[in-house]
């Protein structure tokens, strides 16, 4: 099931930070992982991932570094910083409060 783009846009940084919690990743890996773990519910235009990543890097939440694969392909990996980990907790808490409130309203009277 695809979801409304506007629902996704507000939580993209939370999703990206969550993906990096389990280890350093590069952009394409994040996109494919996001699709896989969400059963393709979360599908974003792939080009728009990079402004999000670069913005997170600018804020100090992630750090980027280049690494070359065995095939000689260059990949730019992103690493979750301590500041980013703290931000993830913050955003996750906000999301839980928000989603809980939405659920409450949705199920009110049912």
């Amino acid at each position: 099931m695809k979801i409304d783009k506007s629902l996704l846009s507000g939580s993209t940084s939370l999703l990206v930070l969550s993906l990096l919690k389990s280890g350093d990743k590069y952009g394409y890996e994040m996109i494919t992982l996001l699709e896989a773990v969400s059963n393709e519910v979360f599908q974003m235009k792939e080009g728009t991932l990079y402004p999000i990543l670069h913005n997170l890097e600018k804020k100090g939440y992630v750090k980027a570094y280049n690494q070359q694969t065995d095939k000689g392909r260059s990949r730019r990996y992103y690493h979750l910083t301590d500041k980013g980990a703290a931000q993830l907790i913050e955003e996750k808490t906000q999301w839980e409060v928000f989603s809980g409130a939405v659920n409450t309203v949705l199920h009110c009277g049912t």
């Binding site: 389990s22 235009k45 670069h54 980027a64 000689g72 979750l80 980990a85």
Partner: protein, 502 residues
């Protein structure tokens, strides 16, 4: 018909399926090129533009290859990739917001400013003041701070630090390289609840992280028109005083592993972090080797002794710490319980499965030689798509086929100098076996991480996969080969808690 080739790409464009240049394979390639140009055109700063274009190009390479592997023809894979990449104008506008805020129409002004800065740099180069002051020694400052966020308080405590010193700066190509900082730290970060709707929860420990890191921070200084080489991490090697080289790739020898990251931090400066995966405990010094002969340069980093804060100077006694640590398990019920559910409009109900199922947690105590230990936390959780990060130093990523894993925290008290290091030597002294598999029970692969938070209190966290849903494990711990094993039996309940349907 003879093959014709199209115009050659710039040298930076590596050959890949996405950019194959034979005539037969041209389908869609121009559209992808246009997409890249449009998406990166709004970036005025050439190094930024090159970097972003390279990253997007690599993404497109991988996407096209991935779609081809799924059976699409090259042309179809390119078309599908183009569709998935989205609107290049939108991407470009978003990139510009990040990379060039406020420049836009003022490009001409920016050029003037840039020229002014270049002139200033020339003056600095001539005067020799372009190198920032070199810090020859990282001072040990053991400190704590507390920040009140209203509904919770964050406490940070630097518990122990190993100061390091660096040799003189070296000239490496266009850059002057100096060591800014070389340090190992144990620290802890915790969040305490406050002003909640339930007053009985005020003062409860919400989360605590124990840090255990060693890193070296190098500063590269040079003229602003330089940039770090694309594969700068390949130019840097780290060799310890015994001649052992640290590896940057996944290596079997986990003890000797580093990660290298870097970025521009100013007009004339770049920073490179060399982060050690495990603490170089028995190492007196390491050499940072830059480049290859004849241009090879070396920086030597000396590790000093550990410095610990006294126990009584901490806000709580060790026993309180253990008690506090036990509180973590009480709160885990709310932390690890995550869902992957959503409301399906067509079905008219919430669908999906819980991501984690909480199985069991408990505590136990034991004795081995002069050391007492207790299990402050034993968790068994997991589902088909469970994943968990153990620590920032040793991320453990379980995904897909793992039904369950066990997460055990042990707190050791006593003469902890007898404890092995949290590296390979721990594996020699600790075994985790499944007695149900018989006397030749296969040793279970486990990942230990840990830290000493006080001089006589150490915490280990051990995680292992539990694909078979074993009900009982034995932890066999020996401080020396001659000593009989101290056995800790761990029973895991099989009836996992189920969350009530919303």
């Amino acid at each position: 018909m003879e093959k014709k080739t199209v115009k050659q790409e710039p040298a930076e464009w590596l050959p890949a399926a996405a950019w194959s240049q034979t005539l037969e394979d041209r389908t869609g390639i121009d559209s992808l090129r246009d997409w890249l140009k449009k998406a990166t055109r709004p970036l005025y700063w050439p190094p930024d533009r090159r970097q972003v274009r390279r990253e997007l190009r690599d993404h497109i390479d991988e996407r096209v290859e991935g779609l081809q592997n799924r059976g699409l023809s090259l042309g179809d894979a390119r078309r599908e990739t183009l569709k998935r990449m989205g609107d290049p104008a939108e991407t470009g506008a978003l990139l510009r917001q990040v990379h060039q805020p406020g420049l836009g129409w003022a490009l001409g002004v920016a050029r003037i400013v840039a020229i002014g800065l270049l002139l200033a740099v020339v003056v600095m180069l001539v005067s020799g003041e372009y190198n920032l002051p070199r810090i020859t020694k990282s001072h040990s400052v053991i400190s704590s701070r507390s920040i009140d966020y209203g509904d919770y308080v964050e406490n940070y405590t630097l518990v122990a630090e190993r100061s390091c010193s660096c040799s003189d700066k070296v000239q490496f190509g266009a850059f002057t390289v100096s060591c800014e900082e070389a340090v190992c730290r144990y620290d802890q970060w915790e969040r305490i609840s406050k002003q909640t709707d339930r007053p009985e929860l005020n003062g409860e420990l919400i989360q605590r992280n124990l840090g255990d890191t060693c890193y070296i921070r190098l500063r590269f200084t040079g003229a602003p028109w330089y940039d770090l080489p694309e594969h700068y991490s390949d130019l840097i090697r780290v060799v310890d005083d015994k001649g052992m080289e640290y590896q940057t790739e996944d290596a079997d020898t986990l003890e000797k592993k580093i990660s290298i990251t870097g970025s521009r931090t100013g007009l004339c400066s770049w920073e490179i972090y060399i982060r050690f995966a495990n603490r170089p405990e028995e190492t007196e010094w390491v050499d940072i080797i830059l480049g290859e002969k004849p241009a090879r340069k070396e920086l030597r980093i000396y590790f000093g002794g550990w410095r610990f804060q006294r126990m009584d100077a901490l806000p709580s006694e060790p026993q309180d710490f253990v008690e506090n640590f036990r509180k973590i398990k009480l709160n885990l019920d709310g932390i690890v319980w995550e869902q992957r559910r959503w409301y399906d409009e067509q079905q008219g109900r919430v669908v999906g499965e819980p991501l984690f199922k909480l199985g069991h947690y408990g505590s136990a105590e034991g004795q081995s030689g002069e050391i007492t230990f207790c299990v402050s936390q034993a968790l068994s959780m997991g589902d088909e798509e469970a994943y968990k990060t153990v620590s920032t130093n040793s991320p453990v990523y379980y995904y897909g086929d793992v039904k369950r894993f066990v997460d055990l925290t042990l707190v050791f008290r006593g003469d902890t100098e007898q404890l092995p290091l949290f590296t390979a030597s721990l594996r020699e002294k600790l075994r985790i076996v499944d007695p149900a598999r018989g006397s030749d029970a296969q040793e279970i692969e486990f990942i230990p991480v840990g830290t000493c938070v006080y001089q006589n209190v150490c915490v280990w966290r051990i995680v292992w996969k539990d694909p078979l849903g074993t009900e009982r494990y034995e932890l066999q711990y020996r401080q020396s080969p001659e000593e009989s094993a101290c056995v800790l039996r761990l029973d895991l309940e099989t009836d996992v808690k189920e969350e009530e349907n919303p």
